[in-house]
Symmetry: C2
Subunit: 207 residues, 2 copies
């Protein structure tokens, strides 16, 4: 599963990074900012059955599919992982990840905590990062400001966030995404990836 | 030895970083550059019996002591670790490290591979970074350019570097310090420290 690094003439292996955390914490914003910063990652585009938001672009932010199309992807074994998240299906297209890794690119995927647990089991060599708000109040405020969910769904999301915190031991790293500190958050994510690529024991990923 | 991080209101613990690697690889230059970059670390000043080089400042680059003074430090248990390196004694003053950690500062120490092995045993929570040249030829060239050692000592240093590479499994990270890439090396060391401070399992150091 792992190999010794050769300090002379060594070749770095691409790594698989999972960005997770509660709804509203800023995972999408962090990934968008990392893209802007020009890191040469492959950002996995998740397939989802949830309705497209006005600001979102199909094929860039998500691959928006119907429930029937999603069922077909499950049937064909095309998804590395999938789950029902707040009534909508979300899944990671396996071929996309495999192609990126084969081409030598690091892969970043955004995934909920339930999905992160699945990835930990399927791909133990993945690097799992949990993005947290600085406090529960801050998380609640951000969810209210987003105004994309009705109040009862919002309560569900807060209850879920509380439960998910108990799964923190699944993760390798936790990064606090404080209000107005998105650049610091992205700097920390980038540092984690740089550090992981310097590890003596490198992770060999087999999907 | 380790504790769970609390994402809300958590306090980061200071970490202990060991920078090691072969003679001539650029450990001193990397540490000097990190200092210039203004990272708020405590850089441990090693005590040594080796002669002061013209460019070195006593108390800043090393604490230069006589063999008698060094023997007294050993006697009094004042050294965390010490060793004979190419005929000269080098040691880490324990009080200096303890004071820095107590004040909440991260500590960086420069140490030879033999000493790094001792630190790994005494302080398993330390983060060990091995600095490597990009090739043996590059290392030999740098040692020759430095012109601080006679040819037979140079041969000894190269033989030692070869042996030390076999101890790479002692270390957590390896950073290649290629010619003219000192800033990249320092960026990687800083990234490793940033990442380690985000680890879910934080390291509690007891000296």
């Amino acid at each position: 599963m792992s190999r010794r690094i050769e300090p002379y003439n060594h070749q770095e292996k691409p790594i698989l990074v999972v960005i997770s955390g509660p709804s509203g914490v800023g995972k999408d914003m962090a990934i968008a900012r990392l893209k802007e910063m020009g890191y040469p990652f492959h950002f996995v585009v998740t397939a989802t059955t949830r309705p497209q938001r006005p600001t979102e672009i199909n094929g860039v932010d998500y691959i928006f599919v119907s429930t029937g199309e999603f069922a077909e992807m499950i049937e064909q074994g095309e998804l590395l992982e999938y789950a029902v998240v707040y009534g909508d299906y979300k899944g990671i297209p396996k071929a996309q990840v495999r192609q990126a890794l084969t081409s030598g690119k690091d892969v970043i995927m955004r995934i909920d905590v339930q999905g992160a647990a699945t990835i930990r089991r399927l791909v133990p060599e993945a690097v799992l990062i949990y993005i947290s708000a600085e406090s529960e109040e801050a998380l609640v405020n951000r969810l209210r400001q987003r105004k994309t969910e009705p109040e009862d769904q919002l309560k569900m999301r807060i209850a879920t966030a509380r439960q998910e915190l108990k799964r923190l031991d699944l993760f390798d790293y936790v990064v606090i995404n404080a209000d107005d500190k998105l650049d610091e958050t992205c700097h920390k994510i980038a540092a984690i990836i740089t550090a992981e690529k310097c590890r003596v024991e490198q992770r060999e990923i087999n999907l």
